[in-house]
């Protein structure tokens, strides 16, 4: 059976067209969405910093600002005019101007710095003001030698959800889409082509047990799926700073999705008479789900009656579970309702497939 799995994998790699749809197609989606929405996640933009002072205090402030790289990027400028230009051109959201002598001791000491803001980037302004404000308060305490009485501590309530954005949402959608497309399209078309070419018939003339043939197909598909998920996550995380959370749990749900859609693929191969028909039916099944199961946008905003229907599509609960794992730090068992829908689909498709799918005609 190992040999059959290896042979299946070889065929997958050599079938350039199928390889494109299973690997390159989701990758193209990842890159496109990555360019639009990836990178920096909650980043509110760029801050110009003009440091005309050489005191320890000013150096500390600049380095503190630089540490906030997950909130904004720092771009250092030499003069205030250059910083203004950047803001005017929309290349920066705010600027911190540290005048000469700021933080120095003695006669020339300056105690005030300036923050330039852009009304169009209120978020950036608020962020930089709070960082600078906190820094100055701290300094004031040190200088006046008093201890703060009231303080607060912060704790991230949901470690994995820290700063996730639309790209993280859509990346999970792309993984789900990849599972669905490669399993439904891949199996429906390849199995029906095997039947058309009489390869299935030829195999039934050998003593090979039918279940071994099927299991080898399934395993080869799953291996392909793991590679797909690996590539999508690697590109998403490394190039576009995506957050995917608990990868093993995500993998489990993704492969559950793959298995369910493999059943759909087998079923389509069973009920269609030619590979062309199988291809058409596979497309008819996958395309609507791409849009109605929340691959690219949340389905919660759909009208209630419509949502009640589309949430039952097989991809919907799978995506919901995958997102709860990677975006909310959830666990596989967190959503009993969703799991029930998935289970019903798996059992239902399994029964239908067992009922209709045969390697030979009799």
């Amino acid at each position: 059976m190992l040999k059959l799995i290896i042979a299946n994998l070889k065929m997958m790699v050599r079938n350039k067209q199928a390889l494109f749809w299973s690997l390159l197609f989701p990758l193209i989606f990842t890159v496109i969405f990555g360019f639009f929405f990836g990178s920096g996640t909650l980043s509110t933009g760029t801050i110009e910093v003009v440091n005309n002072s050489n005191s320890e205090l000013s150096t500390n402030l600049v380095s503190l600002l630089k540490k906030q790289s997950d909130i904004f990027n720092i771009d250092e400028q030499s003069g205030i005019e250059a910083a203004r230009e950047k803001i005017k051109d929309g290349k920066a959201g705010a600027a911190v101007i540290i005048p000469a002598g700021f933080g120095a001791t003695g006669q020339e000491a300056v105690t005030e710095l300036k923050i330039l803001t852009d009304p169009g980037s209120a978020q950036t302004a608020a962020a930089v003001q709070s960082v600078v404000g906190a820094f100055l308060t701290q300094t004031n305490y040190l200088v006046t030698n008093t201890k703060p009485i009231y303080k607060f501590t912060t704790e991230v309530a949901n470690p994995s959800s820290s700063g996730f954005g639309y790209f993280d949402f859509v990346l999970i959608g792309i993984i789900g889409m990849a599972m669905m497309n490669s399993a439904v399209q891949g199996l429906a078309i390849s199995i029906s082509r095997y039947r058309e070419d009489q390869i299935l018939k030829r195999i039934t003339t050998t003593p090979l047990a039918g279940w071994k043939f099927i299991v080898a197909e399934v395993i080869a598909q799953l291996i392909e799926n793991v590679v797909q998920i690996g590539i999508i996550i690697a590109v998403g995380v490394n190039f576009f700073h995506a957050h995917v959370g608990n990868i093993p749990a995500l993998l489990v749900v993704s492969l559950t999705a793959a298995l369910l859609f493999q059943l759909v693929g087998f079923f389509i191969a069973a009920v269609t008479k030619s590979s062309d028909a199988a291809e058409g039916m596979a497309t008819a099944v996958t395309i609507p789900m791409m849009f109605l199961s929340g691959v690219f946008f949340p389905i919660d905003s759909l009208p209630k009656w419509f949502y009640n229907i589309v949430q039952l599509l097989p991809l919907s609960p799978l995506l919901r579970n995958m997102r709860s794992i990677s975006l909310d730090g959830g666990h596989i068992w967190d959503n009993p309702t969703q799991n029930l829908i998935i289970l019903v689909w798996i059992v239902g498709m399994l029964l239908l497939t067992i009922w209709r799918f045969r390697l030979s005609e009799e």
């Binding site: 040999k3 065929m11 070419d197 009489q198 018939k201 030829r202 003339t205 003593p207």
Partner: protein, 310 residues
């Protein structure tokens, strides 16, 4: 010689349609056995029941002493099957396909050596799609030999091939027989069956209408000899003079006559008459299997029909 296949009262029904209607025959060890018949006569259905691909409605089938369907697994290990279509995996090389099929039988093979036996060793790294029609058929046959089977089933192995490729395949089939294997084949080509097959069963509408050694079948011809020639002499005169010897017809081109003779003793007299017509291309032929086949099944299979159904 012992019988390796025994079929008794085999019936296969699809609803109202009776595809195989109570046939019985045996195949002897080491022979080339031909199953002939028109398209739809039930040849392939019969083969596929013996190969375990279809279930018989009733009747007994025994292969190498094992009963179908109970001992099908054992039978499958000992037989090799070539199906009518020779398609195989598109994205595997020839050696890879052979090795994969050998795995299905738990059989060790030297794929290159097998390919050598059908002169395909130079194509070992090719894909099936890169082979010519004859090469595909040869590959398809060698693929049925990966488990070193005792019986090999070939379903229309030469359909659609050119005459040279067809003769190559005859050599190959003979080789397989010489290696001690029993060969069961179906074909549309009577010439091929006459040359290759030791014994033949002719099927017609699900029934066996003739079943004998090939020689004996040919002897059964109603017209043991035929005389053919071309002449400028007018129709009426030719007909009038020759009808006493048998059936005269103009089966094809203009001025081409065919005299089918029932009584071989009068062959000399008939030829003497024909000579008076200044014949061109005078030929005397003994009856062939094709003549017997046409007489038995009552129809001529047109070449165009053969190709269309290939």
């Amino acid at each position: 010689m012992k019988n390796v296949i025994k079929i008794k009262n085999l019936v296969k029904q699809y609803g109202e349609l009776v595809a195989v209607d109570g046939i019985s025959f045996e195949v002897k060890e080491g022979e080339i056995f031909g199953l002939l018949g028109e398209n739809g006569a039930g040849k392939t259905t019969t083969l596929e029941i013996i190969e375990g691909l279809r279930r018989a409605t009733s009747g007994e089938t025994e292969v190498l002493g094992h009963k179908i369907p109970n001992e099908l697994r054992i039978i499958k290990k000992k037989i090799g099957v070539q199906l009518q279509s020779s398609a195989y995996y598109n994205h595997l090389k020839l050696t890879e396909i052979l090795e994969l099929f050998a795995v299905f039988y738990n059989h060790e093979i030297d794929a290159v050596k097998l390919l050598e036996s059908v002169q395909l060793e130079l194509k070992k790294d090719a894909y099936v799609s890169q082979l010519s029609g004859g090469q595909k058929q040869r590959f398809s046959i060698v693929a049925s030999l990966v488990n070193d089977p005792e019986i090999v089933f070939l379903d229309e192995p030469t359909t659609g091939l050119d005459p040279i490729a067809r003769r190559n395949l005859w050599e190959l089939i003979k080789d397989i027989r010489d290696r001690g294997k029993t060969v069961v084949l179906t074909t549309h080509y009577m010439e091929e069956a006459e040359i290759l097959c030791d014994r033949i069963a002719i099927m017609e509408k699900g029934k066996i209408v003739a079943y004998d050694k090939t020689n004996n079948l040919v002897k059964r011809a109603i017209f043991p000899y035929s005389v053919s020639f071309e002449t400028e002499v007018n129709d009426e005169k030719v007909m009038k003079n020759l009808e006493q010897f048998g059936v005269v017809s103009q089966p094809g081109k203009k001025k081409y006559y065919l005299l089918q003779m029932k009584d071989s003793d009068k062959l000399g007299d008939a030829i003497d008459v024909v000579r008076k017509f200044a014949p061109i291309g005078l030929a005397v032929r003994p009856a062939s299997l094709e003549d017997v086949f046409v007489e038995l099944t009552g129809k001529v299979i047109l070449p165009a029909e053969k190709e269309a159904n290939a």
